[in-house]
Point group: C2
Chain length 364, copies 2
């Protein structure tokens, strides 16, 4: 059971390989890509404890010269300070332009290692080995890298495509349950914005939370369809000049909610779930989407164990205000991704602020 | 009197406009490029005092909304800390993806503003308005941006092409004499690696140091030929996969000399002058270049008022050691650019360390 998905890009294409147990083939798989001998594997202490030695053994077996380093875990360490630490380690290990950083971890590790690789010697190789569901289906693919500014998430960053992405679904078994649920929000997102069959498949599954333990084939299939959706979109629009914006479905409100609760109350995926509920309802209010389809979406979000309500402690006016800080704001206009049917969305910056407020008020 | 040079690149091409007095047309010229309304002009206190208000007036006249900020002058401020300051200012002024940072200054300002623009919101526009000779003919063109690591120059950075480069040769009149001489090293470099006519023209000029005051037409011509050389090379090899390496002529030894003297003893161009003398002699020793042509090159370097000798306080063994830290090292092999005739160079990593030591010893 294995899938290979190609991300086609003008400068450098790459593959996403998905197969249970493939962590032990990391070195072998990387040998197929033209990379220098030196590898710096970056992880965090918890993930390294589970998977670090296996990854290193596989890399060494394939002839790579491997150094490793653990950054502290958690979004609050996703800062330029951590990047500076990686620069120091890169220098200490004399990484060259042909060398490779391997990101073994979730979205935070992947984003940081990607950014360090993007900016060390003006760009060295990076290989992504995502260990969270969110990183597997979203952040490890497509080359968005970066860190947070004290006043905003991911404000500092670069586009830097990985040379290879290795996904071993078995590592999901050690992922905390809440992280797994949060990642499911992005999977549902692909169903709504791109892939009706994926949506139907999720709808037909009795449980979403338990999948990773019991349904190896289903999880392989869900990962493959999600990665394929992301790869399709990124291949068509690497730098978010147009189409790629649809991947931000649920993220406009989601980001505002995350930032207003200082990234402490919600996981990213949880906030995206709330954002999808809001965006769906806005689409209904504007007459773009059928109420019945919104219900189907919201039922799926609930089944995944994700929140669908706005917490009472966030002022709606504060959300409206925070939207202005979004990276996607253009000339002061907030951009929304809105569904028109399941599998199809449109991008618009013509949502009246009153509609946003009204929808948010209905989500208490 | 004006020249426009096109840098042709797959993703986004841009123009270099060279004309005396053109600083007052900055806004008008930028209107010709598709840029958002918000501009952050970044300079340093001295350059801003001379040219800041003129630049801002021109930008405002063309309808741009302008904020400005001065970074402290000098290579020792070319650090991630300065970049963080620029991020704060970008946030304060709510720069958007369509916004533009304008770098008004020499190489240090250009490199830093370029890097901040490359990494803010994963890349916003940058316009380069170089005010030093070195920045005009070299660093403002081609998209290399970055800052120094405490243990190495330009180790942190990104490729980020400007959307437009404006060169007003008249601003050279306020450039300190030593800076002008240092910039001339890069001009001579283009003569040796690419443009025989430029070399001949420099050879035929009685003075090189005085050019900027008395010979508007000649300096216009020298700037144009130098920028054309850089544009030609960059257009053929944006990310330094091959040809672009020739621009590092004189830089292998030059960087080592700079770094061993902690960037205090020599201006970059001065170190490059020493590096060109060394590389020329290495080429002669290896039978690649005629001794007579080396002499012509060295005479030109001297005429420009640049040093051609190695200072006594640098150990030759230390230089050999420092070469290993160069960004261009591959599998431990040091890459040299060596002339084979005036206007033509080749890249090689097959220079015996003994030859390097011997040549350096002869330069005391």
């Amino acid at each position: 059971m294995s899938s290979v998905i190609k991300v086609n890009l003008p400068e450098q294409s790459y593959e996403i390989a998905i197969a249970p147990g493939s962590l032990d083939q990391l070195g072998e798989q990387m040998s197929g890509v033209k990379l220098g001998q030196k590898v710096l594997l970056v992880s965090n202490p918890m993930i390294f404890k589970h998977y670090g030695e296996r990854a290193i053994a596989s890399l060494k077996k394939a002839g790579f010269e491997v150094a490793s380093y653990n950054l502290p875990a958690g979004e609050r360490y996703k800062t330029l300070n951590s990047i500076q630490k990686l620069y120091d380690i890169a220098l200490e290990n004399r990484l060259e332009r042909s060398s490779t950083m391997v990101a073994l971890g979730g979205g935070v590790i992947g984003d940081m290692v990607g950014f360090a690789a993007a900016t060390w010697l003006r760009g060295i190789n990076v290989v992504q080995v995502p260990t969270s569901l969110l990183a597997m289906v979203d952040s490890a693919i497509g080359g968005k890298t970066g860190v947070n500014h004290p006043h905003g998430k991911n404000l500092i960053g670069a586009f830097h495509q990985p040379r290879f992405v290795l996904i071993d679904p078995e590592v999901l078994k050690t992922l905390p349950a809440r992280e797994f649920r949060a990642g499911m929000a992005e999977v549902i997102k692909y169903g709504v914005i791109w892939d009706t069959e994926l949506f139907d498949q999720l709808e037909a599954s009795k449980h979403l939370e338990q999948l990773r333990y019991v349904k190896a084939e289903l999880i392989q299939n869900i990962l493959t369809r999600s990665c394929q959706a992301k790869a399709d979109v990124v291949s068509k629009d690497e730098k978010e000049a147009g189409l790629r914006a649809i991947l931000n479905y649920g993220h406009t409100i989601g980001h505002a909610v995350e930032s207003l609760t200082e990234y402490r109350m919600f996981k990213h995926g949880e906030a995206v779930g709330i954002g999808m509920v809001a965006a769906g309802q806005i689409a209904v209010e504007l007459g773009l989407w059928q109420a019945a389809d919104t219900e189907r979406q919201n039922a799926l979000i609930k089944k995944a164990g994700l929140p669908t309500k706005l917490p009472a402690n966030i002022e709606i006016a504060a959300i409206i205000d925070a939207l202005q800080l979004d990276k996607k704001v253009k000339s002061g206009k907030v951009r929304f991704v809105l569904p028109t049917q399941i599998g199809v969305v449109k991008v618009t910056d013509e949502v009246p602020p009153d509609t946003i407020s009204q929808v948010l008020a209905s989500m208490r």
